[in-house]
C-alpha cells in the first residue's frame, strides 16, 4: 500500500458519523503508528442535509455510493449502512471487485453473504475485515483468527447483544415490565427507536454466533435453521422467581461442537447468580471460548455504541495499513469445510417451566403425570397460590431432557382448560 491512503465511508448513521469524526481526529496518530497518511475522499448517505452529530464535508458527499467508484480512487471503504442485502451487499461486492479493501461492522451482511464475499476478496487479493460485527469493542475476531489460531476450539458462547442484556438487567433491578424498560432503552439510545426487533428476537446475536462458528471451527457459515428465541416473552415474574432460586436470566448465543457436529443457538438461559456469566450486566458483552491446549479464555467489554464499534473499525484499518493480505476467515476459503450440523431435536437441557393454573385439585397431578409419561424427571416444584383469584403459579425445574421430548410432552397443555396459558419455558445453562 502507498504512503497515501484514500478512504470512503458509506453510511453516516450513528456508527458512520462517529467513525468519520474519529478518522479526522486520529489522522496524525495513525500516521505515527503506521507511517500512512489517510485521507477521506468520499462519504455517502441517503440525505445530504440531515442534521448530524458532526459536520460533514459536503464537497465529497455522494447520494449514490456506487458513483464513488466511477469518480474517486479509493483504497479502503467502510460499509456502515447495515443491511443484509441491498446497497450494503452491492457496495461491498463492487469495492472488492475493484480491488478496494472493505471494512464493515455489518453482522447480517457477513452472516448471510460472508462466504461469498470472502471468496471475492481472496480472488481479488484484497482484505475484507469485520471485527466490529461481533461484540462491539471486544477484539474477539482477531483473538480467534490470530491469538488462539492454532488451538482446537470446541465451544464459543456468551452475551452477544448489549440491548437485551441491558433490558434484562434493568428489569431485575427495577422490577419494571419489559415494555417500560424497552422504552427507557430506546430513550438512552441502547435500542433502535424505530425497529428494535432484530435485537430483541435474538436475530442480531444469532448472526454473530454464525460468524464466531465459522472462525472458530474453520468452517463455512452454516445456513441451517436453528433454535432462536429472544427476550420478548420474558416476564418480570420469571425474573423474580429466578432471583429467588439464585438464578439470573441472560440471553446467550451458543456455538458448540457436540459429538463432532455443529450446534448453534440463541435463547434466554437461567444461569447461576454466582457464575461469571451471571455477572456480566448492563450493555456489557462477553465471549467465552474453550480451546485446546489454551483452556478457557474470556473476553469482556462494551458490546454496543459508536465508541466501541469505532475502536474495532479502526483496528481493522490499522491492520490493513500495516500491509499484507489476510484471509477474511483466517484460512483460505477453499480450505473451509461445510459443517455437519446437529439435529436441533437432540439439544438437551434442564428446563424451567412456569404454569399459570386454576387452583383446583388434580391440576398438579395432571402435570406431573404427563412429565412421568415422557420420563422427564422433576428436580424442583414451587407452587405459589393466588388465593384471591383462585389461581396458582407452578414452577417446575426438570432434569435434562431433549428438545423433542420436551415439545411433545408440553404440547398437550395447549388445550387444558385449567392451564391458563401455554407454560413459559426457559432453559438452564448446562
Amino acid at each position: 500500500m502507498n504512503k497515501f491512503v484514500n478512504i470512503a465511508i458509506v453510511g453516516l448513521g450513528q456508527v458512520g458519523i462517529y467513525l468519520y469524526n474519529e478518522l479526522k481526529i486520529k489522522k496524525k496518530d495513525i500516521e505515527i503508528k503506521t507511517g500512512k497518511k489517510i485521507q477521506i475522499v468520499a462519504i455517502s448517505a441517503r440525505n445530504k442535509n440531515k442534521k448530524r452529530k458532526f459536520n460533514i464535508d459536503k464537497k465529497i458527499f455522494y447520494s449514490n455510493p456506487l458513483n464513488i467508484f466511477k469518480e474517486k480512487h479509493v483504497d479502503i471503504l467502510f460499509e456502515c449502512v447495515g443491511l443484509s442485502d441491498g446497497i450494503s451487499k452491492k457496495v461491498t461486492e463492487n469495492a472488492l471487485k475493484k480491488k478496494i479493501n472493505v471494512i464493515t461492522p455489518n453482522k447480517t451482511l457477513i452472516a448471510k453473504h460472508g462466504d461469498y464475499l470472502a471468496k471475492l476478496a481472496e480472488k481479488h487479493n484484497v482484505n475484507l475485515e469485520f471485527e466490529a460485527s461481533v461484540a462491539g469493542g471486544i477484539p474477539i475476531i482477531k483473538t480467534i483468527k490470530d491469538g488462539l489460531f492454532t488451538n482446537k476450539i470446541n465451544k464459543v458462547y456468551g452475551i452477544l447483544n448489549g440491548t437485551t442484556n441491558y433490558i434484562l438487567t434493568e428489569m431485575e433491578k427495577t422490577g419494571e415490565t419489559f415494555d417500560n424498560v424497552l422504552k427507557k432503552a430506546q430513550q438512552l439510545g441502547y435500542a433502535e427507536p424505530g425497529n428494535p426487533k432484530l435485537d430483541l428476537n435474538g436475530f442480531d446475536a444469532f448472526a454473530k454466533v454464525r460468524i464466531l462458528s465459522a472462525l472458530s471451527y474453520n468452517s463455512l457459515i452454516s445456513k441451517k435453521k436453528c433454535i432462536m428465541e429472544g427476550i420478548e416473552n420474558i416476564d418480570v415474574k420469571d425474573i423474580k422467581i429466578a432471583n429467588q432460586l439464585n438464578l439470573r436470566i441472560k440471553l446467550l448465543g451458543i456455538s458448540e461442537i457436540i459429538n463432532g457436529k455443529l450446534f448453534e443457538t440463541v435463547h434466554p438461559c437461567l444461569v447461576g447468580k454466582n457464575t461469571y456469566i451471571g455477572n456480566v450486566n448492563g450493555v456489557m458483552n462477553a465471549v467465552i471460548t474453550h480451546g485446546k491446549p489454551v483452556g478457557e479464555t474470556i473476553l469482556q467489554g462494551e458490546g454496543a455504541g459508536p465508541g466501541p464499534t469505532s475502536s474495532s473499525l479502526l483496528s481493522d484499518l490499522v491492520s490493513i495499513l500495516r500491509g499484507g493480505i489476510k484471509n477474511p476467515f483466517g484460512i483460505s476459503s477453499n480450505k473451509r469445510k461445510k459443517a455437519q450440523v446437529l439435529n436441533n431435536n437432540l439439544y438437551t437441557n434442564s428446563l424451567y417451566l412456569r404454569f399459570e393454573v386454576n387452583d383446583k385439585s388434580g391440576v398438579l397431578s395432571n402435570i406431573t403425570n404427563r412429565f412421568a409419561k415422557f420420563k422427564i424427571s422433576i428436580k424442583r416444584i414451587i407452587q405459589t397460590p393466588d388465593k384471591k383469584n383462585k389461581k396458582a403459579t407452578i414452577v417446575i425445574i426438570t432434569h435434562k431432557t431433549t428438545e423433542i421430548n420436551a415439545r411433545n410432552c408440553l404440547s398437550i397443555f395447549k388445550k387444558n382448560k385449567n392451564i391458563l396459558k401455554f407454560p413459559t419455558l426457559i432453559r438452564l445453562y448446562n
Copy 2:
C-alpha cells in the same frame, strides 16, 4: 517468506519440550492454515540425554546453541531458556542480527532488553514476538497491539502471576499456611521446585507490567525503581480477617497514567469479594484495560503451564508465517518516547494495617494518636483480644493516604515495646 520454513528451538525445559511436540503434531494443520511447511532443523539444551516428557531427535541436537547459526539455515528461532541475560540474550541478539525471526515467552529478557532487541529486529527487518511473555495463553499483547491499537489507554492492570494467585486461593480455601501451600504448588508443578522466588516476590508480575506499559502507552520500557511487593509475608491470619470484611487478597500488577505520568507497581491488594477481579481464582490470570473510546476490556484465561504458553508461542509463529514485518512494540522504536514517571511517594491508597500488641491500656490510643498526627483518618477498627496471652490484634482500615505519609507515620512502631512486630500493611484496591 518461502514455502519451506526452518525452525530452531533453544531451551527444552517445560515449555520448550511441549512446544517441540506441538510443532510436530500441528505441522499439517499449520500448513493448511498458512500454506507454509515448517520443519524443526535444530534443538538445543544443556543436557542431550536428560529424560524428557517427549523424545527428541538427537541428530539435530546442539549443546551450544550458537553453533546452530554456523551450521543451519534457520528462519524462525524460539528462545525458551528463560534468562534475563546470558545465553538467552546472546542467542536472541545473534539470531536477529542474522535476520532470523525470534519468538520468546521470556518476560525478564523483554522487560530488561526489549527496547534494544526491538531496535535490532527493526534494523535487520525481522520479527521479534513475545505474546507468551505476559499472561500465558491470553492473547493480551496482540489485543493491545492490534485490537485496541487506536485507543488511548490510560490503565492496564490485573492478576499476572498464576503461581501466587493459586497460593492465595488455596490459603483461603484450606486455611493452610503459606509454606504448606507453596509445597503443594511445587508438587503440582505450579511453582518452580528450585527457586520460586521470582514468582513469589512479585518480580515475574512486575516484568509483565513493564511490557504491558510499553505496549499500552507506546513508550519505552521504564527502568525506574518501583513499589514491588510479593506475597511472601501474607499471613493466613490476614486472609481470614479479609474474609470477615468481605474482602479477598490478590497480587495485582498495575500500570496507570496518573496526571500524565506513568505509575507501575506490583503488590498484594484487598479487593471486594463481589468484584470481578476478586473472583479470578486459582491459576487464572486476568488483564483489564481502560481505553478511549472502547471503555473497559477484560481478558481472562489460564496464565501458566506449557499448554497455554504454547498456544501463544504458536500464535506468534502463525503471525510470522502469514508474512510481513511488524514492529515488536506495535510502533516503530524511534517513535516510542521515554515515559515521565510518577514519584512513588505520591501513590495513594486506603490501607489495611494489622498490629499485634500487648493488651495494655493506652496502646490503642498510642496508635490512634500517631495516626491523627499524620492526618490519616480511620475508617474502621477491629480489636480482637487474645486473653490467654494478654495480647491483642488490632486491625485498622484507613482512608486514603500517600505512601510517604504512611511510611513516616508507621516508622515509629519499629521501636515500641508494646507493639510486638512492625504492622502488616496491605493496600486496598481503589
